[in-house]
């Protein structure tokens, strides 16, 4: 295992310490391992928190700050955080206007957030939850765990965070988050596996001429293994199911997000974005906003994911609104 770490079970704590050391102006750390916006709680402002396993950096801690998240709860690598964290986060950011939990759709995340919400409500804090489930690689079904929450989470956190920042109430912020969820779709692929520090070896073996299509963000194998293909073919394999699913059609204005899995350099992401732009043009879909970079990762996995969000005027305005976090910053 080749990583810039000291001990597998120290990675999360040391990375958090580094984050706080680097971004002390934006965030602080409270027990038990919760990244909280420096100026939380803000009276009268709806609190927006999220969380999940570590290994997806900069998500979620890198999104804590003005106009985005009020707190983030990092679990062990790829393991959803425990209710104690979400409870502490909820209390720390509650400014009297209630708190929204943005939850990625994984059994563990959903159950741990549920437990935390029950405990917070028992303490008299108004809590709502929206579950993000945007991964079209997984069948949407009532009989299964349903779709995974992936890239759409980043966009939801930015847009919803801006709404809370401008003073929208809990019902409005919650409805907006659901609207983002209803209009966003994603799919990802992997060129290589990643290694969970505590496991010490790659989660899956893969040949030099193979790739995994339809992976999530936990280093798990994807829906299918295919022969390695070129960037254009890979982009088609991801974007076509996305566009067909919602579906996105001619005249739609969208936000296109090309995300790196952690081990893929920017030069390759721009090659992918070039194809995404071409395909959207051909479908009459207008890319009104875009995001290219590694924002929701799987440790050092090489690969990418594509996320497309159908925008409306409010979403576009809130996307453009000022944000100042470790990973996303503009207008501030």
């Amino acid at each position: 295992m080749k990583k810039l770490i000291n001990a597998p079970d120290a990675v999360v704590d040391e990375a958090l310490a580094g984050m706080v050391a680097a971004h002390g102006d934006l965030l602080r750390l409270i027990e038990p391992n919760v990244v909280v916006r420096a100026d939380a709680p803000r009276q009268g402002k709806v609190g927006v928190i999220s969380g999940g396993g570590s290994g997806h950096e900069p998500m979620h801690g890198g999104f804590v700050g003005l106009g985005m998240l009020d707190a983030a709860c990092p679990g062990a690598v790829f393991t959803s955080p425990v209710p104690d964290q979400m409870l502490a986060a909820t209390k720390a950011v509650d400014g009297g206007a209630g708190v929204l939990h943005i939850v990625k759709n994984y059994t563990g995340d959903v159950m741990n957030f549920e437990l935390a919400a029950e405990l917070a409500q028992a303490e008299g804090i108004e809590v709502t939850s929206v579950v993000v489930a945007d991964d079209v690689a997984v069948q949407d079904s009532l009989y299964t765990a349903g779709r995974r929450g992936v890239g759409g989470t980043v966009l939801a956190e930015k847009i919803v965070g801006a709404a809370a920042e401008e003073g929208q109430d809990l019902a409005a912020v919650t409805a907006l988050c659901q609207r983002v969820q209803d209009n966003v779709r994603s799919m990802g692929m992997a060129l290589t596996s990643c290694t969970v520090p505590a496991a010490g070896k790659p989660t899956f073996e893969i040949g030099d001429d193979e790739m995994e299509v339809g992976v999530g963000i936990h280093g798990e194998p994807g829906r299918e293994r295919r022969k390695l293909a070129g960037a254009d073919e890979i982009t088609e394999a991801l974007l076509t199911p996305i566009l067909d699913d919602l579906p996105f059609g001619s005249g739609d204005r969208v936000l296109a997000f090309v995300n790196g899995m952690g081990g893929t350099p920017l030069i390759e992401l721009y090659v992918v974005y070039n194809k995404v732009a071409g395909m959207c043009r051909d479908r009459g879909v207008t890319i009104e906003r875009n995001l290219v970079g590694s924002y929701i990762t799987s440790l050092e996995m090489a690969g990418c994911s594509i996320t497309i969000l159908k925008l409306d005027d409010e979403m576009t305005r809130l996307w453009d609104a000022p944000v100042h976090t470790a990973a996303l910053r503009w207008g501030a």
């Binding site: 396993g53 679990g75 062990a76 690598v77 790829f78 393991t79 959803s80 955080p81 425990v82 209710p83 104690d84 994984y106 059994t107 563990g108 159950m111 741990n112 549920e114 437990l115 690689a137 997984v138 069948q139 009989y143 299964t144 765990a145 995974r148 969970v196 505590a198 496991a199 989660t203 899956f204 999530g216 936990h218 280093g219 798990e220 194998p221 829906r223 299918e224």
Partner: protein, 210 residues
């Protein structure tokens, strides 16, 4: 007459914690194939914490001991198994109440309550390919044999858990991370059903040692 008391319960917790630690990598390997390679790590983290609490449990009634375990798991495991195993022990606690010892049939009723809690929390049904597929037949078998005494009942429960764990290996998962793999989840042993089988085995051996 007492079939199961606080000493047996702590013996069980110690044994289960030891076996999870020994089989940590095996469980994580199973989770690598159809999950995210952390089940052994999660369970070991949780039950090491439980082991640390054992001294405190000494002399406590079964209910408060089980509650301590459940809270500890919920606060340290995370993932899907944290709330599920946590709920398992919290429901045992409610069933045990302030009792310091229970009979086999009473233990059976407590295990039934724990199983129901896991199903409520995780919404899994039989054949979804989860720990429920090992736990549910184990509880059925225990209750059916409870009249013969706790020893035979736990032997039957272990056999049923193993059978359930192996029965679902060929199935396609419908719950948990394995469900994301679709067809590819077939013909892999489920990590959670495996750790649950280890739980029942630990219970049997802890009681036998008594």
């Amino acid at each position: 007459m007492s079939d199961f008391d606080g000493a047996a319960f702590t013996r069980f917790l110690g044994t289960f914690a030891d076996r999870l630690h020994e089989r940590r990598d095996e469980l994580t390997q199973l989770d690598s194939a159809i999950g995210d390679a952390d089940h052994g790590i999660n369970m070991d983290r949780g039950f090491s914490a439980v082991r640390g609490k054992l001294p405190e449990l000494d002399g406590a009634d079964l209910g408060s001991a089980a509650k301590q375990v459940g809270m500890t798991l919920i606060s340290t495991v995370g993932g899907a198994s944290g709330p599920l195993y946590g709920t398992f022990f919290l429901r045992l606690a409610t069933a045990f109440g302030e009792r310091t010892e229970v009979t086999a049939p009473e233990l059976g009723a407590a295990l039934r309550a724990a199983l129901d809690g896991v199903i409520q929390r995780g919404k899994a049904t039989l054949d979804d390919k989860t720990m429920v597929d090992a736990l549910s037949p184990a509880v059925d078998a225990f209750e059916a044999a409870a009249a013969d005494g706790i020893g035979p009942a736990l032997e039957a429960a272990v056999a049923a858990a193993i059978a359930g764990r192996d029965r679902i290996t060929p199935l396609v998962a419908r719950k948990g991370r394995a469900s994301y793999l679709g067809e590819r989840s077939a013909n892999h042993q489920d990590p959670g059903a495996t750790s649950t089988t280890i739980l029942i085995e630990s219970l049997r051996d802890a009681v036998a040692e008594g």
